[in-house]
Symmetry: C2
DNA sequence: ATAAAAAAATACTAATTAGTATGTTTTTAT
DNA sequence: ATAAAAACATACTAATTAGTATTTTTTTAT
């Protein structure tokens, strides 16, 4: 294989396996030899492509976790101009949860897991994760403001507050689900959030 | 000092310092020598009173974290019969957040931190934390049902779903707050949750 | 074809840390 | 007062793991 391609594909492999292990076991509990066992490569290969464990953490956030949130929760918000906003919110915050894989249900949100595991202690991780949540918040506010302008959302709604609550409750529920063995908590969340979104609709 | 008292007070000291360190640094990142440095006792004292790190983790959940949630969020729900339920909810979910210490704002909820750090991996921790959330959920549902019966809460509210959403959003917000340096996220949450609680009031 | 550079493997170092073994001090029961 | 037991301290072991140094293999440019 061409060297430049090989290098890129090895880096991607390490990146993906790192993400999987961080997601399943947490960042701190994952060690480099374990990651590399999953890639069938050696520790030497790891340190040839990455400076240290911190760097792979950063790159996993930048290249995988950020992309997952963007693709899953921000991009679907983008084409909002010819959509009914309350319906769009219901789609994103209830329909998508139903489509989660078992693994995603059991393991929670990769971003939220990292926020809670190392949000306080590592400032670089913290900033990237904050930017991610900020982007989501901004995209949501934009959509909510549009919905308000189009008379689809009641005028007494504070869009920034609502966006924060939608994100917070979604992440909180995904966290709490982790200690259960069934989806009752998601079912309850879906009922509750549907009720809430219906309540802010302009009749 | 009498031996039995001394033993108890040493155990309590180790327990409290362990909680503080787990809360600040996470469970996995906290080591026994660091805990014992804070108690000004030796490692030998630790292993005389506790079997291993896992046991102190269990006891911290049982004796400290559970008590904090109970005292802070379940006990205030108990004397609900002569209170207005929406007001009681507002008190617990908005007034109490305003009274948090800086540390509590920065470090999030000890229970939620543990849920997210080790909720998936350790079954004993998991069960204790689940029991804790279950107790909270049950206490909340009871109060909400009462509010519904007293015509203070709208009849179309699903009490179990609402309880789950209240707990989930509260924990989620406390988690996300950890990556910020200010209380904007709490301010937004308070506005949003106040709006929600007002929306379910029977007029 | 071959020298240089990149990729990857192997062997090693150094630090951390859970847990144990053993010794010393303090308290208690007689 | 003293033997036993509990409380605590010190010294050690063994395992883990991040990161480095060195060597081998593969690819590239000439």
């Amino acid at each position: 294989m061409k060297q430049s391609l090989k290098s890129k594909s090895t880096q991607d492999l390490i990146l993906n396996k790192s993400f999987e292990m961080f997601y399943s076991n947490g960042f701190k509990s994952t060690n480099i030899p374990d990651i590399m066992r999953k890639t069938s490569l050696s520790k030497g290969a790891f340190y040839h492509h990455f400076k240290n464990k911190h760097e792979i953490g950063i790159k996993v956030i930048e290249n995988i976790i950020t992309k997952r949130i963007q693709d899953g929760f921000i991009v679907p918000l983008e084409d909002y101009k010819n959509k009914n906003i309350p319906e769009l919110l219901l789609y994103i915050f209830t329909e998508r949860i139903k489509k989660f894989s078992e693994k995603e249900k059991e393991l929670g949100c990769p971003a939220n897991n990292l926020i809670n595991e190392i949000g306080c202690s590592d400032s670089e991780f913290r900033i990237l994760l904050r930017n991610l949540i900020d982007s989501w918040q901004i995209a949501l506010v934009k959509v909510l403001e549009f919905g308000k302008a189009k008379n689809q959302i009641h005028s007494n709604v504070n869009c920034s507050a609502l966006a924060t609550c939608l994100i917070g409750s979604f992440e909180g529920i995904r966290g709490i689900r982790k200690i259960y063995d069934n989806n009752q908590i998601f079912d309850n969340y879906i009922i509750g959030i549907t009720h809430y979104i219906n309540a802010i609709k302009k009749k």
